[in-house]
């Protein structure tokens, strides 16, 4: 049998980390990525770093998308990245939601692969995920 599988879709875990319940953006992103031919493992609300690590591991995710709207991103996103590294996972983490420009550098320094601001187009969202998945893992 020929070696299939070169065109396998990217697998992306999407989650809300913490208590914040704003999921409009994350749901829109889920559809954007599906429409870009990706497989989205949508974990939804109230996830912890530990639950996201487990999902990323079991689902062998190519990327993780986190949505944050409550100003907790400077605490939560680095915690997430560290939890992944502790589990020997190098899955790239993309943060979206309300992240002021001034915080972007700090997040990138903490190991976040990319930050998607509000108003990013569908093409930008999909391309950011593709780029992160290509560099990461």
């Amino acid at each position: 049998m020929s070696n299939a599988g070169q065109d396998a879709p990217l697998r992306v875990v999407l989650a809300k980390l913490g208590l914040d319940g704003h999921d409009r953006g994350l749901k829109v992103v889920a559809r954007i990525l599906r429409d870009a031919g990706m497989e989205v493992i949508y974990l939804g609300l109230r996830q912890t770093a530990a639950s996201i690590v487990e999902a990323a591991e079991q689902e062998d995710a190519d990327a993780i998308g986190l949505s944050m709207h409550n100003a907790g991103h400077l605490t939560l996103a680095p915690t997430m990245v560290q939890a992944l590294r502790d589990a020997d996972l190098h899955t790239p983490v993309i943060v979206g939601g309300i992240v002021p420009d001034v915080d972007v550098d700090e997040l990138l320094e903490a190991g976040v692969a990319a930050v998607l601001g509000p108003g990013a187009s569908a093409a930008e969202v999909a391309q950011t995920v593709r780029d992160a998945a290509a560099v990461g893992s």
Binding site: D20, R24, L43, G44, R46, P100, G117
Partner: protein, 551 residues
Amino acid sequence: MAANDRTDSSSEAHAAYRAAYEKASLRDVPFETMSGVPVDPVYGEAPYPGQYPYTRGVYPSMYRSRLWTMRMFAGFGTATDTNTRFKEILRNGGTGLSTAFDMPTLMGRDSNSHWALGEVGRAGVAVDTLADMEDLFADIDLSGVSTSMTINGPAAIVMAMYIAVAEKNGVARKDLAGTIQNDIFKEYQAQKEYIYPPRPSVRIVTDMLRFTSAEMPRWHPVSISGYHIREAGSTAAQELAFTLANGFAYVEAAVAAGIDVDEFAGRLSFFFNSHSDFFEEIGKFRAARRIWARWMKERYGATSERSMLCRFHTQTAGVSLTAQQPENNIARVAIQALAGALGGTQSLHTDSFDEALALPSEKAARIALRTQQVVAHETGVANVADPLGGSHYVEWMTDEMERQAEAIFTHLEELGSGSILEGVYMGIENGYFVGEIADAAYRFEREVNDGRRIIVGVNEFTDGNEDDNSELLRIGHEVEELQLKRLAEVKQRRDDEAVARALAEVTAAAASPETNMMPPILDAVGTYATLEEVVMAMESVFGTYVEKAII
């Protein structure tokens, strides 16, 4: 009032309107245009403002008697910080206090919960125990203020804390005035700040309706909120329909619990979003009043006029604010605020232009308030009630909003085999609400993406997007540390046995559907049981709610 050929001044309805208007006290300002032309309090045809079905407004004189309340929602940091802010508002002549809570408090978690990491005191004030509530309202005479508290899942506990603070200071609960949001249905549909499954949650709401009906005549126990439904991406008609359906569902739940409709319906209030499509919003507000009045009277048999009035608070659409060229948001907010005023709102919160980026800075919050002051004092819209009534387009839009809403009510009735309450439960369980909202949100995003819908600064007119926006409000970690210390101190000096006994009573009441939850919760908060402890005491009976992801 000068007769004019645009008003049917000979009719009985007009005479009745006239009589009602004459009775109202008016603000001491000239009711004339900027150029000095005197204007009537209303134009056009009956039914007039203050007349069933209230399409044109809930009061005859509307803003001639009283401008809408300019209620600005604020709060962050520790309870003491917010208390300072409150006192400042009161010193400046304000009488309304509006409280925002931080995310852990909204979710019924204490500041030391692992869930609270990074969130303590960030988007509002942290309340763990009665001690925080005492700090929040220290040296404020609660008999002389009206307090609005935006909280839902743990609303009963926070309201109990407020009562406890008042009574400690010698203010009786019957003298307390205010509003607690306490609208749990929209949490499952949109905002997602729920704790327990829907049915036990609604039982708590009906307990609060019964308790406030009997003991707190000046208190608004539920503010039925479409705001968050719209923010989650719904259309205007969905916002209207889901919100009113939730209202009907509370009415059905309370009536089923044996409370007379006129005992509580007059204290229900509403909270809507004002978005950028000007005429659609105005049509939505007008339709809301008409639908509510008709359903309350005809379907639920309300006889008191107050039960039929859809009185509402409005907030401009946070979701419409762009991070690109944020100053443009000032224009958006102004237009949305104007729609709220023309739609006849009772109070208004205007968003700060920088809210797409962070919590509002002081300057941005001031501009937001100034924006609605400009609308109120400079545009002349406050002179005439329902000034757009009679416009072919606005009347059509009002009818269209109503038609769409009625179609949704019909669907919910079918889902619930004739009951809106059961239909709402079913719609939550089978994902109808979240599915409809997600579809609408995605449709809108696609249109923006495809360029079929222009958002200034986002997909068109993007010159200037590079501007620096680094002047943002930041909140440090000190708040979290202070709050944790405070919580540990309170736990140190309270009587743990009394706490345990009181919590056991809460659990026992939860397990007994006939018992009102409020008295045992009041006892529990009085022992300085924490918010999360009381939440957990009920959770052991009620269980938790986990949403099935519907995309």
